[in-house]
Amino acid sequence: MSIGATNARPFLEIKDLNVRFETDDGIVQAVTGSTFSLEKGKTLGIVGESGSGKSVTSLAVLGLHRTRSNAKVSGEIWLDDEELVSATDEQVRKLRGGKMAMIFQDPLSAMHPYFTVGSQIVEAYRVHNPGVNKKVARERAIDMLARVGIPQPERRFNDYAHQFSGGMRQRAMIAMALVNDPALLIADEPTTALDVTVQAQILDLIRDLQEEFGSAVIMITHDLGVVAELADDVLVMYGGKVIEKGPAVDVFQQPQHPYTWGLLGSMPRLDREVRDRLNPVKGSPPSLINLPNGCAFHPRCPYAGRNGDRSFTEVPELRGDIHKVACHLPAEERTKIFQQEVLPNL
């Protein structure tokens, strides 16, 4: 412990986060024991299938579960030395859109159809800068539109979301999220609704803006290509749990979890023969109301049972130093399987 230990806490630190929803069908355990951290200027990629808990994690950070009376959140979320799970609604509201902002998946449905794009950006700015008059806020919004690469920003300011093209709409959404210089930016599948050529532009834009603003970025996606492009660290989620995490380079070059292998195997590659089939992860994601016993992945894992019955009865812990994995297979065996069975087919 050094004298400067007060700064020891990372910019964003999430400890043992649990999110559950009480529904008529039972309790949905959306996130279980999620723990990770992120520094300013860094990008964390969270990957996983639909229902793996990646979006719920980010909504919990922003406190957007708070309006849902059936949501229960426990654990700790530290943002810049402030704990958010135990904070009041008003404290979290003041951080939302200010210190932490979010970009959503489908910008057409995420923008209000009845208000102009400009007025929505102005609103986001003024709620965190109440003293600013309309004219200044308007200039700020137009400036943001210009910075995210929207041509003729003065004119587009008065347009509605449906008058924008898909890519321009996402740019406007990004302008709205960045209008208050957020220190933490969460992008929830920001390119999913866009066509491929536009996807690359938007990713470039996010990277450039991150360098400019020095924000911490959480990139939620099921597209490993996006993660490979942008992320410093990667978190792989399955059934509401973090099952693998580590530096992006390690996770891509030495993936440890059979599920991560499956994700890599299901990525289309241009350098592969067309007649080769993709290798998707067989089976479907588990129900979060009734998770399988033991390792949640065992019903779909081709290696379950190699190590006795532990996969069926015991939840694997997340273990490792920098590159962590939650799997019952011994490390040597995993390396062997990856080298001999998985890698040749990727």
């Binding site: 309006t67 951080l95 159809p113 208000f115 986001a124």
Partner: protein, 333 residues
């Protein structure tokens, strides 16, 4: 925008023309088909044939139906003269003919009724909008709570109970039993605003109860849908206060469908709230229509139908124009 308005107005005029043609056709062709003579209805059964023939000449009942319809339309636009030789009666525009029963001009009769119906409909509309929307919003925000359940149960009662039940029951309680309100009788607003108000309280509440129920359920459903929209989540993610999120972002789209329904409901009511007017003895268009139907007074029935159609078409027009203004996506379509 101008092209949009012009298109809508032309549409409205065509609709009204069709409505007049069909109503006129029904009301004046059916007596012919059934063999009853409209001229007889003016005079009474024991008149002499010459007088009947005179009326027939004067009213033009012997003309082909399209000629009669043409004259009827001309009467509305420019007024018309009923002539039987030297005996000429001028009916100024907009002329809707003469009542069979009283031989009075239809237009002034109906014009007298309009303020009654207007007072009833507008007052009730204000009430049901306030009640329906506020209870609908509260129910949506407190979904599943006691308030929600109570409001929705009351609303179910509201849509299920007919006006002649709630109206008579409330009259029995507040007028005859408790004696808090006078026995209903319409007093013109300009004559005595206070009496006008007091006499309309029960009819307003009775009529509003029926509509407030529908509006509360509609508002609740719309609000619940809107609250689940992505843009409401975005509004929260921007850090807006819950008051702005609900009061501005959610309400703006949650209430938009209400505008359509409200326009049509109000338009329909302006053509006469038959049950409410009858129960509370208000001599409005609905009451007039009911009386006319009982007496087989075709010109009045035709007149009321036209006015009702006019209000509905007009309300539709207004709704379309307002919609173009509140929903930017419609404006461009």
């Amino acid at each position: 925008m101008l092209a949009y308005i012009v298109r809508r107005v032309i549409n409205a005029i065509i609709t009204l023309l069709v409505v007049t043609a069909v109503t006129f056709g029904i009301f004046f062709a059916i007596p012919k088909a059934t063999g009853s003579d409209p001229a007889l209805l003016y005079i009474g059964k024991q008149s002499d044939p010459a007088a009947i023939e005179g009326i027939r000449q004067k009213m033009g009942f012997d003309d082909p139906i399209y000629v009669q319809y043409g004259k009827f339309l001309k009467g509305i636009v420019a007024g018309r003269d009923y002539a039987n030789g030297p005996d000429v009666t001028h009916c100024p525009a907009p002329c809707l003919g003469y009542s069979f029963a009283t031989e009075q001009e239809v237009t002034p009769l109906l014009l007298e009724d309009i303020p009654v119906t207007l007072s009833l409909a507008l007052g009730a509309a204000v009430l049901w909008l306030i009640m329906g929307i506020s209870f609908g919003v509260i129910s949506a925000l407190r979904r599943g709570s006691f308030v929600d359940r109570a409001a929705m149960t009351t609303a179910l009662a509201g849509v299920s109970l007919p006006v002649y039940f709630t109206g008579l029951l409330s009259s029995a309680i507040f007028v005859y039993w408790l004696g808090w309100l006078p026995q209903g009788q319409y007093v013109p607003f300009l004559e005595n605003p206070a009496d006008w108000f007091v006499n309309l309280i029960l009819p307003w509440i009775t009529l509003a109860f029926l509509f407030a129920a529908t509006y509360a359920r509609l508002t609740r459903a719309n609000m619940l849908e809107t609250l689940g929209e992505d843009y409401v989540r975005t509004a929260r993610a921007k850090g807006l206060t819950e008051r702005v999120v609900i009061g501005k972002h959610a309400l703006r789209s949650g209430l938009t469908p209400i505008v359509t329904v409200f326009g049509l409901d109000l338009g329909a009511l302006l053509g006469g709230a038959v049950l409410t007017e009858t129960v509370f003895n208000l001599r409005g268009l609905g009451y007039q229509a009911l009386t006319a139907i009982r007496q087989n007074d075709l010109p009045i029935i035709l007149g009321v139908t036209l006015i009702a159609a006019f209000f509905i078409v007009f309300a539709n027009l207004i709704v379309d124009l307002v919609y173009g203004w509140i929903d930017p996506r419609v404006r461009l379509a």
